[in-house]
């Protein structure tokens, strides 16, 4: 679905490239999390997927980015925006309208979606996100979590195959953050949407996404299933990425020879791991 081939990018006047020789393939229907220390190039990577690079941010590029069989550099930003829906971190500056309905209408009008189809698109975009009751509300009266949902709903009204989000939960409390991620999971599992999300909260990533890519210093540090990537917590901590505490605990237990199971990613896994260790000992 998305394919980076030897991709490098340097912003104008920047001393070093923001991304160096990236090779990454994201399959159709994937739910991928991207994590890494700040300044590692995570946002730049998202700009290369949604066409902001090279169409909005100019700079020195090498290599190729393909989205759904199209070379991002040879196409127009409009072609890509029908394939990739984007939601940025600073959600306040995402909005172009003052009322929820108008926000969703914006993209639909721009793309000249047939009149007969528009009402259906609006209702289904609101429904999919579970905010039908907010349709006529003024955006400034909404909570942070609701605003984030409006942005997602405006992005998916264009029916993109890929949804791209840059730190959607950075301003949200743990409960609203989980709501956003379970919404993303539903979009991924029931609607088959490919989802790429940059996120700092490792516990959310462990609970919801299928695959993880760690970026460090403009390069891909590791990529794979969440469990494989987190198998060595101490190495990740060196580059500034933390693991859930239970993952650290399970890796310590393995290092101490108490278990040979793969690392635990969440509480339930850690609980059963420790219980097995205790049971084996008693036996």
């Amino acid at each position: 679905m998305i394919k980076f081939e030897n991709f490098s990018f340097t912003y104008p006047d920047a001393p070093a490239p923001a991304l160096k020789n990236i090779n990454l393939e994201i399959q159709k229907g994937a739910f991928l999390g991207i994590i890494g220390p700040s300044g590692a190039g995570k946002s730049t990577l998202t700009y290369a997927i949604n066409g902001a690079i090279p169409h909005y941010y100019q700079g020195v590029c090498q290599g190729q980015v393909m989205v759904d069989g199209i070379d991002v550099f040879d196409s127009t930003p409009e072609t890509i925006s029908l394939k990739v829906g984007s939601v940025f971190g600073d959600v306040e500056s995402f909005f172009v309208a003052s009322v929820v309905e108008e926000e969703i209408l914006f993209g639909l009008e721009n793309f000249n979606i047939p009149r007969s189809e528009i009402e259906g698109r609006i209702t289904s975009a609101l429904d999919a996100v579970g905010i039908s009751e907010l349709r006529y509300r003024s955006i400034s009266s909404l909570s942070g979590g609701q605003k984030q949902k409006v942005a997602i709903s405006a992005a998916i009204a264009l029916r993109p195959q890929i949804l791209l989000l840059d730190e959607p939960t950075s301003e949200l409390d743990p409960q609203s953050s989980r709501q956003i991620f379970s919404l993303l999971r539903t979009l991924n599992k029931s609607n088959g949407m490919t989802i790429v999300v940059v996120e700092q909260k490792i516990m959310l990533l462990c609970e919801y996404v299928d695959r993880l890519t760690v970026i460090n210093d403009g390069e891909i540090y590791s990529t794979g299933s969440v469990r494989d990537v987190l198998s060595t917590p101490s190495k990740l901590e060196k580059i500034g990425v933390n693991c859930p505490r239970v993952t650290t605990l399970s890796s310590k237990l393995a290092a101490a020879g108490l278990t040979n199971e793969p690392v635990a990613l969440n509480l339930n896994e850690a609980e059963s791991m420790v219980r097995r260790i205790i049971r084996d000992y008693i036996r």
Binding site: N50, G51, A52, H55, Y56, P77, E78, S81, L82, S86, F88, D90, E92, S93, F94, F95, V96, A97, S98, V99, E102, L105, F106, G107, L108, E109, N110, F111, N112, R115, I118, Y136, R137, S138, S140, A154, A155, L158
Partner: protein, 256 residues
């Protein structure tokens, strides 16, 4: 200042009028403010606007804008009152300053004119979603969407910036800046450095909003893209007739 110059959803007659009608009515009222030289008539129109706002559920924001305009008018009032020297002297002040009856009347008139010309325009913002205003301007007035969008976005940024400014001021108060000083020059010296964070955040915001619009096909937009139509209805006609009546009256009535 919360909710200042911000759209307030509702179903009142003001909300339902076509954006163009609202724009036309504001322009008509603005014209009245300058055509009429009757203090009574302009005051009546101001009260009418405030009354209509209260009936439409936007009374609070109308009063907010009104009180801001009142402060601005006061400056204008003070600037005028000492310059008119014709008429009978009412009050004598030191420094060879005096207030005449004509001066007082003229200063009041100027202040009222400012309020009446600005209030309706500002109120449109609270009863019209900006995207409707842009849409109607594109469809009916044939203004290119790019310009309509720029204008409405600028208006939409007013409350966002006013929140930003109050938050910057709060952050500076938290580090010990004392804005309570009465000395206007000292106050300006304190406020000036705050332009830097405001500038930084507004550049960031506009950059993001441009990117966000572009990512959603902004460049493809043309005049036919509008989903909603802003047809004139019976109530628009009545409202416009009322507007014409008001402007005719302003020419006929010559009350003091």
């Amino acid at each position: 200042m919360k909710g200042f110059l911000q759209y307030i959803p509702g179903n009142s007659i003001l909300h339902q009028l076509s954006p163009i009608t609202k724009l036309a009515l504001s322009v008509l009222l603005c014209a009245c403010a300058f055509l009429s030289s009757s203090i009574l008539y302009i005051s009546f129109l101001l009260l009418l606007v405030l009354g209509l706002s209260a009936m439409s559920g936007i009374g609070r924001s109308a009063l907010q804008i009104f009180s801001l305009l009142l402060k601005l008018s006061l400056i204008l009032f003070l600037a005028q009152i000492f310059f008119i020297r014709e008429g009978d002297v009412l009050v004598r002040l030191p420094l060879n300053l005096f207030i005449t009856d004509e001066g007082l009347a003229f200063a009041i008139l100027i202040a009222l004119r400012l309020m009446l010309s600005a209030l309706p325009l500002a109120l449109i913002i609270t009863v019209t979603p900006m995207s409707d205003l842009a849409g109607a301007m594109v469809q009916k007035l044939r203004i290119p969407y790019k310009y309509a969008f720029a204008l409405t976005t600028a208006i939409r940024f007013i409350p966002i910036f006013s929140t930003e400014i109050s938050e910057i001021i709060e952050a500076q108060r938290a580090r010990g800046v004392n804005f309570d000083t009465k000395n206007i020059f000292k106050k300006i010296r304190l406020i000036l450095p705050l332009c830097l964070p405001l500038l930084v955040s507004s550049i960031k915001k506009t950059e993001y909003i441009a990117l966000s619009a572009e990512m959603r096909g902004f460049a493809l937009r043309n005049r036919k893209s509008g989903y909603k139509s802003y047809a004139f209805k019976g109530r628009d006609l009545i409202a416009l007739l009322a507007g014409v009546f008001i402007i005719a009256a302003s020419l006929l009535i010559n009350l003091p």
